[in-house]
Every structure is written in structure tokens, then in C-alpha cells.
């Protein structure tokens, strides 16, 4: 089964609305979930998600989410944290221990190999030793040799962002992208995300060997409008598209 990975910034638009959406989500249609820990400087996110961080920062409260994390964990859904190294760097080990304690399977750190490349190797080894998945985040601007090197240091799935930042409508080329990635990372499980535009694109990505898609900005917009029905329909629709493949 292809993976559908919804993304949520914790605390957006408010704790209760988010909980409402999360609990309504049909757990049999997803297998991974991505939680954004609100950042002070979500610089590689687009305007939609940037706002969710600012709001989430006000609202996030571990006590509120602890049972929710527990709920997903017990339903066999793997949880991944999206966190900026600029936020967690100073207290990296504590934060990883915290994530483990909350049942998370791994972490995505979009700025680690961009802005802290010299520290990346050490941190990835640390996570490997903890048996905690480090999910490499690559994008069009990740050089080939770095994609190879980082991928070799890990064995988990890989997150490939089609856009320079989330929710930005910049032309991308699916065939070239998958060709590149398949060549650099043969046989690897790849999730595509960051501004996928159409169902057609999703189909194409899966046809070309992708193993899943991550959906973020679109969901945040429905949370903002409190459109739970729209959200559920959307999840079902994408699930259908993925299953078609």
C-alpha cells in the first residue's frame, strides 16, 4: 500500500479543533502521520504553514496532545516529528528522548543538512544508535552527492520536497525528478511532498515508483476554515488515488 502522510502543526488552529480533526481521521487510510512542532523560525515553510507555526507556538501544550499521540501509537500509525534544528539543536538529546517517550518513530529536520551540514553526520549517528528513524529531507537544491551520502547513512524512508518551500506554486518536473531520485536511490522508499499540485501529479509520482505522498498546506487550510467534511473527503479521495495505482 502507498503511504498517505498527513501533516499537522501542533496547536493549529487551536488545540480542540485539531483534536477534533485528528480523531475523525479514518486510521485505516493512513499509516504515517507527521506532526510539526511549532518553530520560532519555520524558514523553509511557505506562508500557509508559516502562520500555523506562529499560532501553534501560542497553543501547543504537551499534556493536551499526550493522549492523542498515545491513540495513534496504539492504532499502529507511525508518528514523525517535523522540527527545525534551529529550535531543537541546543537541547537535541532531550528532545529526542521526549519524542521517544511519546511514541514517535522518527524525525524530519528540514534545516539540518542545509544550515548545519557539519553537524549532520554526528546527529544522524546518534539517532541511528537510539534506533530512532532519521528521515532525510531532500529537495531540488540538494546536491546529488549529498543525497547519496545521507541516504547511505540511513535506512528509513526518505522525504523529497518538490518545492523549495511548502505550498509554493513553482513549476516542477515529475518525470525528471523521479528519474533522478530512482537513479540516486534505487529501491528506496520515497515520500514526495511540499506543494504537490494535482491528483494527476500524485498518480504520476506513484507510477514512477514513489511510495507515498505528504499533504500539508491543503489540510491546514481546511483546519483554518474548520471544514472537517472537506478534510475527510480529501483524505478519502487521495487514498483512492493512491490505491488506484
Amino acid at each position: 500500500m502507498k503511504n498517505l502522510i498527513p501533516y499537522f502543526t501542533l496547536g493549529y488552529p487551536d488545540n480542540n479543533t485539531l483534536k477534533d480533526f485528528l480523531m475523525a481521521m479514518p486510521v485505516n487510510k493512513i499509516n504515517y502521520i507527521e506532526f510539526g512542532f511549532p518553530s520560532d523560525d519555520p524558514r523553509y515553510d511557505g506562508p500557509t504553514i508559516r502562520i500555523t507555526h506562529r499560532v501553534g507556538n501560542q497553543n501547543f501544550n504537551d499534556g493536551f496532545y499526550k493522549p492523542i499521540f498515545q491513540y495513534f501509537k496504539s492504532n499502529g500509525i507511525k508518528m514523525y516529528s517535523l522540527s527545525y534544528y534551529s529550535d531543537i539543536g541546543p537541547k537535541f538529546e532531550d528532545f529526542i528522548s521526549y519524542l521517544i517517550s511519546r511514541g514517535f518513530s522518527g524525525i524530519i529536520i528540514p534545516d539540518l543538512i542545509i544550515d548545519y551540514y557539519s553537524e549532520a553526520e554526528e546527529k544522524i549517528s546518534y539517532l541511528n544508535n537510539k534506533n530512532f528513524e532519521y528521515i532525510p529531507f531532500f529537495s531540488p537544491s540538494t546536491p546529488d552527492h549529498i543525497i547519496k551520502k545521507i541516504a547511505e547513512m540511513t535506512s528509513s524512508w526518505i522525504y523529497y520536497g518538490l518545492q523549495p518551500s511548502t505550498g509554493i506554486d513553482i513549476p516542477y518536473e515529475i518525470d525528471y525528478t523521479t528519474e533522478r531520485i530512482n537513479q540516486l536511490l534505487p529501491g528506496r522508499e520515497i515520500t514526495y511532498g511540499f506543494g504537490i499540485k494535482t491528483e494527476e501529479d500524485i498518480k504520476q509520482l506513484m507510477k514512477n515508483g514513489g511510495s507515498g505522498v505528504a499533504i500539508g498546506s491543503y489540510i491546514e487550510k481546511m483546519l483554518e476554515k474548520n471544514d472537517k467534511k472537506g478534510f475527510l473527503d480529501y483524505i478519502n479521495k487521495i487514498r483512492g488515488v493512491l490505491d488506484d495505482e
Binding site: I114, S141, T142, P143, D144
Partner: protein, 414 residues
């Protein structure tokens, strides 16, 4: 030159350095929380240019129509062994120079202007617009637009517009509409003029006017430098140079170029990055704009008006005001992100030269090689002369990019 060999020298693909950088390139980011200037690019740049801005593709096919115009405006440009200079310096090594001044508008700027105008034309827009300081970029934009029969609206910083009347004539000959900026063609310009009718203008105001004009008239905005797409288009310089060196069996030990926003330098040197690991690469700036030695490698605004996104680069601050140096094209406060990264990682070195050195370098180059280099290019030549002096006994093959001629900047010698 029309000859059997032309088609062998002009490359079929541009080269994009992104997939070969030593580390991932920090992407552009929005400077304001609510407004996405990256999204703005979507509305003001041709789609293809935007795609190229963020592509990982190492090679980007140059459209046939662009190659045709490259030939029309004088590509391939010559690579000439500066034998007279070698003799004058009594240098045992070899000095070559690539001469972008041989193109129609007299500098490398036309290389990306043609590409951008082509993509704009292809998308059926009404015209193109841009800002210009000293006028090199405005000239290239005007000609490129004319070649594809598009109107061009150029906002020229008012103080330069007044000081450089010849540049305006050139742009007019190329069918460009030039107005001093701030102008009354835009709301932004009108607002500034109403506050101060004698405002001398700035590049930031020019950019804001051009962007507003593009949005209001379904024009596209033309990017002079700094951005990756411009550097990719400029790679035609380095790719030709590689081919030309190959044809005569030479290997570049040292590459030298000057840096304003980084487009001629990146275009010239980046194609050597993947397969010339031992080639020494040196980026020259003006003493007065010491971005690499005194600037920080940080996210900063591309333009003082904050219309375009922030990028991570060496910067002296978007509001840095350099002394009025004679090399207008080197006054920019920052440098292209990919170049900045390569400098930060030590792959590319930097150098700074002062006005007197540059003037002397231009003089020496003129009376030995006959070429009157642009003041910007004079910096690269000065670094090359210093390099030869410092490495007198090593017989290196040095290749320097002379990004433009200085025939419209002669007044610096008055």
C-alpha cells in the same frame, strides 16, 4: 563568427551547479510573515525561468531559438591568449581571456536577457520590464526584448539617467522605453515623487517600480543577476571556454572573474566545478564593497525594497551604500547564493582590489591587448596581474573573464 566550428563551441545545454554543490543550497525564504515574495516570483517571472530557478537538473537544454540569437549577437565569444601581456609581464605561464565584451551589447548580460525574453515571449505576455543602474542590464534587456519583438519598459535610476545620457541612446536604439526612476508610471513612483520631486532614485525603487509595472500590465520582470536562473544562463560563458580550451589542448589551472551579483563569475567558473577539482578559482570584488571579507554569510534581502525573497549569501546588508565607485556593476551588497556557498566552503577564493590597481590594470591590458575592459572586468584583470606577480615562477595557465568592454565608461579616466 559563422564557421563550421561555431556549433561545436556554443553548448547545447546550460549548466546548473546546484546538483554539484558541496552542500545543499539554502533556499530563498520570505522575509515577511504574511506575504510570500517567493509566490510573487510566480506572477512576475516567466514560468520557465522560475522552474530553472529551483531545478536540480544539471543540464538544461538551450532552446534552438535562443541558440540562434546567441549566434546573432556574437556567440561564441573569443577566447584569446594574451601573448602580448605575457611578454610584457615576462611570464612563463599562459594567460587567456574570455571576452564577453564582444557580444552585441558589450557585456555578458545579454546571455540571460535573451533567455528570459524568449521564455516571456513564449508565454504570450505583453512585454518585459526591469530596473537598471549604470545601464548595462537595461541595454541587454532592451535588445533581448527587441529580438523577440516584445516591448521593454526600463526604469533607470534617475541619477544615472542624468549622468549617462549615452546609455539612454543605446537603449532607445534597441527600441527600449527608458524612464528615470522614480517615475510617474507607477503608483510607487508617483508616491515618492510627490514627497520629493528631486529624488535621485535607487535600485530598490527601480525594482519596486518594475515589479508593480509587471503586475499591472501583464509584463514579466527580468532578473539581472544573483538568482540561480541567471547564473545558469550565463554558464554559456564557461561552457564555451571549456570547449575552446579543449580544442587547443589547454587545461585551466586558475580561473579569475569579478563579482557584482555573481552572474558573469558563476557563468564562467561553475562549469569547471564538477570535473576540475584542482583548478584554483578566484572571485574579485572592489575594495569598496568587501562583501566576502567583511560581509556575513547569512539570510538577507536581495533588494533594499524587500520585494524579492531573502537568500542566504555573503552580504554587507541590503541597505549598504558603497562609495560612488566607478564600477557600477560591482556595487551590489551581496552575491549569488550558490557562489556564496562555494566561497563559504572554501572551494572558491576571493580577492579585493582598489581603484588605482584597477585603472592601471585596464591601462596595461589596453596597451598590450588592445581591449579597453569595463571597470568591473578591470577588477578581474587586476587580480590576475597580482596573481602573476605572486606566482611568477609557477607556469600556470590562467584564464580570466573579461565580462565587458568599457567604451561607455571612459569618463573614469578623465
Amino acid at each position: 563568427m559563422i564557421s563550421a566550428i561555431n556549433s561545436e563551441i556554443i553548448p547545447e545545454n546550460w549548466y546548473n551547479v546546484i546538483p554539484d554543490l558541496p552542500e545543499p543550497l539554502p533556499p530563498p525564504k520570505d522575509s515577511k510573515a504574511e506575504f510570500s515574495s517567493i509566490n510573487l516570483l510566480n506572477k512576475i517571472l516567466p514560468k520557465e525561468v522560475l522552474r530553472q530557478e529551483f531545478t536540480f537538473k544539471r543540464y538544461e537544454k538551450i532552446p534552438d531559438e535562443v541558440i540562434e540569437q546567441y549566434e546573432q549577437i556574437g556567440r561564441p565569444t573569443p577566447l584569446i591568449r594574451a601573448k602580448n601581456l605575457e611578454k610584457y609581464l615576462d611570464y612563463g605561464g599562459k594567460i587567456f581571456y574570455k571576452f564577453e565584451g564582444a557580444t552585441a551589447t558589450g557585456s555578458h548580460k545579454i546571455n540571460t536577457a535573451i533567455a528570459q525574453a524568449y521564455y516571456a515571449k513564449n508565454e504570450g505576455v505583453n512585454g518585459v520590464t526591469t530596473e537598471t543602474g549604470a545601464g548595462q542590464w537595461g541595454s541587454a534587456t532592451a535588445l533581448a526584448a527587441s529580438l523577440y519583438k516584445l516591448p521593454a519598459q526600463i526604469f533607470m535610476v534617475k541619477v544615472s539617467f542624468i549622468q549617462k545620457p549615452l546609455r539612454k541612446i543605446v537603449m532607445n536604439l534597441y527600441n527600449g522605453n527608458v524612464v528615470p526612476s522614480p517615475s510617474n508610471l507607477t503608483e510607487y513612483g508617483r508616491k515618492i515623487l510627490s514627497e520629493n520631486p528631486d529624488h535621485p532614485g535607487t535600485l530598490g525603487i527601480g525594482i519596486s517600480e518594475a515589479v508593480e509595472y509587471a503586475l499591472d500590465h501583464d509584463y514579466r520582470y527580468m532578473v539581472a543577476s544573483v538568482m540561480n536562473s541567471a547564473l545558469t544562463h550565463q554558464s554559456v560563458i564557461g561552457l564555451e571556454t571549456k570547449k575552446q580550451l579543449e580544442l587547443i589542448g589547454e587545461h585551466a589551472d586558475v580561473l579569475i572573474g569579478c563579482v557584482g551579483g555573481g552572474s558573469n563569475f558563476g557563468g564562467f567558473t561553475f562549469p569547471f566545478i564538477p570535473d576540475h577539482p584542482d583548478t584554483e578559482i578566484i572571485a574579485t570584488t572592489a575594495d569598496e564593497v568587501p562583501k566576502f571579507s567583511k560581509g556575513d554569510y547569512k539570510y538577507d534581502l536581495m533588494d533594499s525594497a524587500g520585494v524579492l525573497p531573502e537568500v542566504r549569501m555573503y552580504s554587507l546588508g541590503a541597505d549598504f551604500v558603497p562609495p560612488t565607485i566607478y564600477a557600477g556593476g560591482l556595487r551590489y551588497h551581496g552575491a549569488s547564493p550558490s557562489l556564496s556557498l562555494l566561497i563559504n566552503k572554501g572551494r572558491i577564493k576571493s580577492d579585493e582590489v582598489n581603484q588605482e590597481e584597477v585603472k592601471n590594470a585596464i591601462r596595461t591590458f589596453a596597451n598590450t591587448q588592445g581591449i579597453i575592459a569595463a571597470p568591473e572586468s578591470g577588477h578581474a584583470i587586476a587580480t590576475m596581474l597580482n596573481y602573476v606577480k605572486a606566482h611568477k615562477n609557477e607556469k600556470k595557465t590562467i584564464v580570466v573573464n573579461v565580462s565587458g568592454h568599457g567604451l561607455l565608461d571612459l569618463s573614469i579616466f578623465q
